[in-house]
């Protein structure tokens, strides 16, 4: 039986598009310091420190080791995971394994990215095989535009629904002081944005941001001693699929990584009504169709119902099932940090510390997801109570 693991400290930098006078190490230091302050601990209490991001974006090899004076990993145990977009959730899961294995009691996990120091799309384009298809795929948008069209055809979702999603996100991000794009957009504003690749226009795509998020994780005995409001990392699922066209789950027999992740997580935790038994979902939503489509894919709502929830306003901050009340990846996307930020924001909601963007519904359990690679999926279940 695994040792239980709780989030006992949360910290994040403000997020923005450009900060030329701040370097990546300083971002890490800022987030780590805030998480430690939140936990009421110092770096000397940390038994291990793990920092994860995607190496190519800033062009630094072994940057976990390079920046270990900033993260506090110097002289401490730790190593780096890198699974692409899911690296943030993976680093949180890595922290979970450090404690659940019984090897450590208190660890610091950090995710960061500084996209103003590199070009995102050229870096992402190298995910494809150099010998086979690197010349075809440009960045992430090709695949995501394709699945969006397929979703529209399949479910009856319209372009306007994606615009509604983005308008909602902007309302949420406006209330989140740490979000990057905090401007409020109306549905009409979103509809009028420049088309990038049909059906995704500029506002329906996530921005490129910079920022860092850190969390202090503790074992059960430690958490109960040092923390008044621990958030329990109740369960986590990682699902990866092979790379190629098929993983996008287009066609009649759809069974995507998100579906597998949802099915596995809900079965293991005896959750039959996800929209009742969990009260908020911080989703890795890199494009506007993600929220309705993946709410279905994670088996949180019924097939073809996602966009209807959007239409009814259920997914807003004040709605019956808020999704990404922080503004989500649609408003803040510093990739190595994006997924761990979902976990941190979900944990803040469970603690009731969401501030201006705290959802109105009482939160007992929350979902957080990570997305990356070739349609890879991480899904975490956070809870106010241990059982």
């Amino acid at each position: 039986m695994a040792n239980r693991v709780a989030i006992v400290g949360i910290g994040q930098t403000t997020h923005s598009g450009r900060r030329p006078y701040v370097n990546d190490g300083e971002l890490i230091y800022d987030a780590a310091t805030k998480a430690l302050e939140d936990a009421g601990l110092t770096i000397n209490d940390m038994e291990a420190v793990m920092a994860g991001n995607m190496d190519f974006f800033e062009g630094h090899h072994l940057n976990d080791a390079m920046l270990n004076l900033y993260s506090g990993a110097a002289g401490r145990p730790g190593f780096k995971m890198n699974t692409g977009g899911t690296v943030g959730t993976m680093t949180a899961i890595q922290g979970w394994y450090h404690i659940a294995s019984g090897l450590y009691d208190l660890v610091l996990v950090i995710g960061w990215e500084k996209h103003d120091e590199g070009l995102v799309t050229p870096a992402i384009s190298t995910i494809t095989d150099p010998a086979v298809d690197r010349h075809f795929l440009v960045g992430a948008i090709g695949g995501l535009a394709t699945v969006s069209v397929a979703y529209m055809q399949r479910s009856g979702c319209k372009l306007e629904h994606a615009a509604m999603v983005r308008a909602n996100s902007s309302q949420a991000a406006h209330r989140n002081p740490n979000a990057h794009m905090r401007e409020i957009y109306s549905v009409e504003d979103v509809m009028n944005a420049r088309m990038v690749m049909y059906p995704l226009n500029l506002l329906m795509c996530c921005p490129t941001s910079l920022g860092a998020t850190a969390m202090v994780l503790a074992s059960e005995s430690k958490a109960k001693k040092i923390c008044k409001k621990p958030v329990w990392m109740k369960d986590h699922v990682t699902v990866h699929v092979e790379y190629g066209g098929a993983q996008f789950g287009i066609g009649e027999k759809r069974w995507t990584s998100h579906m597998e992740a949802g099915a596995r997580l809900f079965k293991r935790n005896h959750i039959t009504k996800p929209m009742v038994e969990t009260q908020v979902f911080e989703m890795y939503d890199p494009f506007a169709f993600a929220i309705p489509m993946w709410l279905e894919d994670f088996l949180v709502c019924e097939p073809n119902e996602g966009w209807k929830h959007v239409e009814k306003g259920d997914l807003k901050l004040e709605g019956s099932y808020p999704v990404s009340p922080s503004g989500g990846v649609l408003c803040t996307n510093s990739i190595g940090d994006s997924a761990i930020l979902r976990v941190a924001e979900a944990a803040l909601q469970v603690r009731g510390d969401g501030g201006e963007h705290q959802v109105t519904r009482e939160v007992k359990q929350a979902l957080a997801s990570g997305f990356g690679g070739s349609y890879w999926s991480d899904l975490l279940l956070l809870s106010k109570t241990m059982d």
């Binding site: 080791a65 890198n82 294995s101």
Partner: protein, 384 residues
């Protein structure tokens, strides 16, 4: 440790200076097929999760694990990539088992150093504000380390050269090794000078290859094989990054890693309690320094240790009986290959370089400028 993690089987490609006709995934498929056969399991049904190990920069590909699920048939399974040395992947795999999340997992690492310019990648790992622009690479870092080591502890270039003679000589008996040769100290010292005192023969050659292993819980491991190898101690620490922030003649992170691992495994006198050591000497002087860090001799006595002959294949505590990294093993695969060699020794499957009656071994992985991160694993056979 809370429970025991068993290594059921390990596999490796032959290491070569270049494998131009093999895609990286060909290597992964090769070692996966081999290890699955050796463990007597079914890849699709029995493997619950995969921990892979590679580096984006070495593969020239962001998310270098992109093709892994395809190569290891892990459709809709848990696959996660360690971006560091292979020894860490074994450690992370062990954590999967210890947490109770998985009962049987595949750990796999790959790198083809020949497809890229390693010097450039090493330079990209150095802090981008102060030191990268000096053009530093690992060879220069190792040279400064060796110089400081020589200065503080009076270790000599001849003693460094003896490491090369021993390791490349041991490699003559290892079928997987890339560079095996009979050498003299003089030949090593007279090979091309790279960065004083490191000569060409004192540097790990460019190498291509892959390595894999199957890890299982105690119960499952015992069912699968009569001779599982147990991971009984682990420890890993980072050094500071800036060379000026550490004394290069010391290796604090390794000392701490070893202490932690030995405490878990109940090892009090490593030189006596261990039957062999497989360590990561990217450069010859590092074998002496790491031997000190692992407690095989006292501080500053690495030179005397190689002189004594104790670390020879037939010595009291053989170090790198396989030939070590100097015989040619790719970076990232390096640490996992050390674990694999130790596993074969403990299973009695090492072949011509078998240490008779080996019961307890240490495998060590490291990476970074002048060995910035260290991971130590204690491996044992038998026991309750």
């Amino acid at each position: 440790m809370a429970g025991r993690v068993g290594i059921v089987a390990a596999s490796s490609t032959k290491f070569e200076a270049a494998k131009p006709y093999d895609h990286l995934m060909d290597l992964v498929v090769e070692v996966t097929d081999k290890v699955v056969e050796a463990a007597g399991i079914n890849l699709k049904d029995d493997v619950e999760a995969v921990v892979s190990c590679s580096q984006d920069f070495w593969d020239g590909r962001t998310i270098s694990s992109m093709p892994i699920p395809d190569a290891v048939c892990s459709h809709l399974k848990d696959e996660s990539k360690v971006a560091g040395d292979g020894a860490y992947a074994v450690l992370y795999g062990a954590m999967h088992i210890l947490s109770g999340d998985n009962k049987l997992i595949l750990v796999v690492s790959h790198t083809e150093e020949s497809i890229t310019d390693g010097t450039m990648i090493e330079n990209w790992s150095i802090d981008h504000i102060y030191h990268r622009w000096l053009g530093l690479d690992y060879t220069m870092g190792a040279a400064m380390q060796a110089r400081r080591y020589m200065d503080k502890y009076k270790v000599t270039p001849e003693q460094f050269a003896k490491v090369v003679v021993k390791n490349k000589g041991n490699a003559l008996k290892n079928k997987l090794a890339q560079e095996a040769m009979e050498l003299t100290v003089d030949q090593v010292l007279k090979s091309k000078m790279l960065a004083d005192p490191i000569t060409a023969l004192q540097k790990k050659p460019v190498s291509d290859g892959a390595c894999a292993m199957i890890l299982a819980s105690e119960e499952v491991a015992k069912k699968l094989t009569p001779n599982p190898v147990w991971i009984t101690g682990v420890g890993n620490y980072y050094e500071h990054h800036n060379l000026g922030d550490r004394d290069l003649a010391e290796c604090d992170a390794l000392i701490k890693s070893a202490k932690r691992a030995y405490k878990m495994a109940g090892i009090k006198n490593p030189a006596k309690d261990l039957d062999l050591v497989e360590l990561s000497e990217y450069y010859a002087p590092q074998e002496l320094l790491w031997s000190e860090g692992l407690g095989l001799c006292g501080r500053g006595e690495g030179g005397k240790l190689i002189d004594s002959g104790k670390t020879q294949l037939k010595g009291e505590i053989p170090v790198n009986p396989s030939g070590g990294l100097l015989s040619g093993v790719p970076i990232n695969v390096a640490g996992m290959a050390r674990v694999a060699e130790a596993v074969w020794q403990l299973q009695g499957k090492a072949g011509d370089h078998q240490i008779q009656g080996a019961k307890r071994a240490v495998a060590h992985g490291c990476d970074g400028l002048a060995g910035q991160m260290h991971c130590v694993l204690v491996l044992e056979k038998g026991g309750k």
